[in-house]
């Protein structure tokens, strides 16, 4: 069955929040249960970032026990490396999926660790956007989908250096076509990329198959500099860059199969996040207006 058929089985989740191990435990962190109680329309699901070595934290366990919907964001697999799909890791992923019962899997399609997966080797770098990097990535996505039995949506990662002859969106268009899958568009990461390359925020989106965008991420960022070079750091604050909003506003009406949007603001007090949630809701009203 092709993705265009399979997508019909994916649920409409609406707007949700991301987390990873311990993210809700900071003194300023979002109280996800309070958000769900006060503003349920902004906490329809929890995107759970999982590094298998760390497992699931108490907040995620509580969310699941309360019947909350989830998506499963991997944080520890180099999709383009067949060696990364060892049976022990796959078994852990299957068990975690059994616990989370996620609507799908997703995650940055980049480099999560150096060499074999081990302590001290974790990081996140974007892929080399070159034609010969497309097939290994697509094969990894297909493999994970088959091994776990869930849709696997690659996400465009952040970065400070992007190499390769292809525009990031062209690269991922080829990947999702070859893997026959959907896409998680991180608007903040794309804004970082376009700014680094000196391009307008929406460059390349007119050629991208936006009907394959199943999930969107929105997050804040801030401008930093090193020796006079300014760059954008994706910091998951509520301070969303204008370029990120511009991308969201371009994509929203064109992403005909959109199922979910995450506001990545898990380490911020609820009151500072509400205007961001409201703007996302307004921008996506045609998609999620009917979700109660």
């Amino acid at each position: 069955m092709s993705f265009s058929q399979r997508v019909q089985n994916l649920p409409h989740l609406g707007i949700g929040v991301s987390t990873e191990y311990g993210a809700f435990r900071g003194s300023e962190s979002l109280d996800i249960m309070a958000l769900r109680q006060a503003h349920p329309q902004f906490a329809r699901f929890l995107e759970v970032g999982v590094e298998l070595e760390k497992g699931l934290d108490e907040d995620t366990q509580a969310w699941i026990e309360g019947g909350g919907a989830t998506t499963f964001h991997f944080l520890d697999v180099n999709l383009d490396d067949p060696e990364d799909f060892d049976e022990s890791w796959l078994q852990g992923i299957r068990e975690t999926a059994k616990t989370l019962k996620p609507a799908w899997m997703c995650g940055d399609a980049g480099l999560w660790h150096l060499g074999p997966r081990e302590r001290g080797s974790m990081l996140l770098l974007p892929p080399i956007c070159a034609p010969d990097a497309v097939s290994p990535m697509a094969e990894g996505i297909q493999r994970l989908r088959e091994e776990v039995g869930l849709e696997v949506l690659p996400e465009n990662p952040p970065g400070s250096i992007f190499l390769g002859s292809l525009h990031l969106l062209d690269f991922f268009a080829r990947v999702i076509d070859e893997a026959d899958t959907g896409f998680l568009l991180d608007c903040a990461h794309l804004a970082i990329y376009q700014k680094l390359k000196g391009l307008a925020p929406t460059t390349g989106l007119d050629q991208f198959p936006l009907d394959k965008v199943i999930e969107i991420h929105v997050a804040g960022a801030h401008i930093q500099s090193v020796d006079g070079l300014s760059f954008v750091e994706d910091n998951h604050t509520p301070n969303v860059l204008p370029e990120t909003w511009e991308i969201l506003e371009y994509v929203a009406p064109r992403a005909t199969e959109l199922r979910a949007t995450v506001f990545e603001c898990e380490r911020n007090p609820m009151e500072t996040t509400l205007s961001g949630f409201q703007r996302i809701q307004k921008t996506l009203s045609t998609h999620f207006g009917g979700i109660k």
Binding site: Q91, L114, G115, P136, L163, G164, V226, F231
Partner: protein
């Protein structure tokens, strides 16, 4: 795959920006260059060099995780200055590990062995074996019928007699302080490492996930060594046990079942076990 070669070179430059200069001036001398096209090298060198330094804590973060794997060795070797080991990221060991895509931790272990005085080697090897057991997971690969292998999360290392006990003594106060904090001060006592490797240590992760270690007899070590990295047919293992001192096959079989009972070995006797 060329994109892969470019990614590995990019990583090496990010951790060791001095490599950029070598790529500019003498690219043919840089390991891994043979896998890069001229276009890819140009792509890499055309980046603003400051962009490689946007994460000023990258190396420190990775080093911290590595230090926690070798706490006692690092404590006594660096004498309160673990930051000197940031030099690992510009060493041939690091560059080679990235280029070959092999374990960064093991590359760090080899680097430590090279940098520290020779008497540190058994201690570093012990901490390496502990790290391997700590992070090992259940081997899910099915065992061939009639074959045996080492039980999961077990490690063997040859050490000077008494090192295991001494190691535990040295580690305990560091854990109480928190290892990274403890590393900032010189150790309170000298290490006094000496002696040849005349003993074997077995490291095991128990069901609660805690590590246990202790010295084991030479004969047991020899049995375990035979199956440490491979499956061994039942008959061959029985012969090995006889060669190591069992009086007859029945006794060797008893030894095997006893080791299985202790979880040191796993076996598939052909009945689906």
């Amino acid at each position: 795959m060329s994109a892969q070669a470019l990614q590995r070179m990019l990583i090496r430059v990010m951790f060791d920006p001095s490599l950029l200069e070598a790529l500019r001036s003498e690219p043919e001398q840089v390991m891994g260059m043979e896998s890069l096209s001229t276009h890819e090298l140009t792509d890499l060198l055309s980046q603003d060099p400051r962009a490689f330094r946007t994460d000023s804590h990258r190396s420190s973060r990775h080093l911290q995780a590595l230090l926690e794997e070798y706490p006692v060795s690092v404590h006594h070797f660096t004498q309160g200055n673990p930051g000197r080991l940031l030099s690992f990221f510009s060493s041939a060991r690091f560059h080679d590990a990235i280029q070959q895509w092999t374990s960064i931790r093991k590359a760090f272990e080899r680097y430590l062995v090279e940098q520290a005085p020779p008497e540190f080697e058994p201690l570093i090897s012990l901490e390496g074996a502990i790290a391997t057991s700590r992070h090992s997971s259940q081997n899910e690969d099915p065992l061939s019928p009639g074959h045996w292998r080492l039980g999961p999360s077990k490690g063997l290392v040859q050490t000077p007699s008494g090192l295991c006990a001494k190691y535990s003594e040295l580690l305990l106060p560091m854990k109480e302080t928190h290892i990274l904090e403890a590393l900032k001060s010189p150790p309170g006592s000298a290490l006094n490492l000496s002696g040849k490797k005349d003993s074997w240590a077995l490291i095991e992760k128990n069901e609660a996930g805690e590590l246990e270690m202790g010295e084991i007899p030479e004969s047991l070590a020899q049995i375990l060594l035979e199956i440490e990295h491979k499956e061994v047919p039942h008959r061959e293992l029985v012969d090995i046990i006889i060669s190591l001192g069992a009086d007859h096959r029945e006794e060797a079989e008893e030894v095997l079942q006893s080791l299985r009972g202790e979880g040191l070995l796993v076996g598939n006797d052909g009945l689906g076990i």
